[in-house]
Symmetry: C2
Amino acid sequence: MPLPQTEMPGRLQAHFAERGIRMTQQRRAILSVIETATKHLDAAQILRKAQKIDPSVDRSTVYRTLGLLKRQGLIDELDLMHINGEGHYYERKLDRDHIHMACLRCGKIAEFVSDSFEKLKQQVEKDCRFRVLVSRLEMGGYCASCRGSQ
Amino acid sequence: MPLPQTEMPGRLQAHFAERGIRMTQQRRAILSVIETATKHLDAAQILRKAQKIDPSVDRSTVYRTLGLLKRQGLIDELDLMHINGEGHYYERKLDRDHIHMACLRCGKIAEFVSDSFEKLKQQVEKDCRFRVLVSRLEMGGYCASCRGSQ
DNA sequence: TCCAATTTGCAACTGAGTTGCAAGTAGGAG
DNA sequence: CTCCTACTTGCAACTCAGTTGCAAATTGGA
């Protein structure tokens, strides 16, 4: 689902170059895994996929790179309602935030883009005088298919 | 902030009685800590406070009781944007959900109740045919005071 | 009062993420 | 192209949150 056909691959790499952040073989592997992901990946999955490109990639490098990407505002960190353990999931940050819905029964993750969400953020900025940098809206419940077959 | 003057203390205990859930000294201590909390507590803080009431309370009992409360839909689990480590925070679930805003500079947590949030949930239920049981909206950014003094 | 079912404390464990450090590397200056 | 420094890496050991198996203790209804 985080598969934006409108986005060029290599955008993360480009961002690194622009900001003068050093590019390494390991980072290239990790960035390309994140850029080509077709579903939400956790750190362990990113590690495994990155090692297929460059076997030398270490767990700590994955965490350090994820930290860097977070600080640069290039990825979002998700919990997905802790449907599978305590870990986190990552996805490229796009122009528009979206809601994540996790089915507590089948584990499926759905995404939903809503104008109301954008408006809600604007309302918070105005009413609470709070500058919103990151936001995360997750819902847990039952998806259409699981709702019926209870 | 999770301090609802309109709510009777003992409501969690009452819920346990209604559903025939066994009441123990340890659970009583833990529930009263949660019910009288004036700010968001993590598991370690709940443990310490509960031990002041009943020193026999163990860490594992706290986690087991928190799990029970979650399953009963009596508390919400929060991340508060991981402003202090990886742990979770807990608060009693009230009739209306609210947004949590975490200041990335001073660490202050603010809460905000918004009709738009309720509407957004309804929109998801309708448009996505998704039954929402729990929802969590957290924002990270800068609060009014920190925004000025950057 | 008794007793089965539930709950507890304990201690050992898991799994995610972090850290200090010596060795390796990127990439700009010359 | 070569050199050099600041940055980055792998490793291994660690922290911290949360979990689990089990024998002993407790609850609350019969």
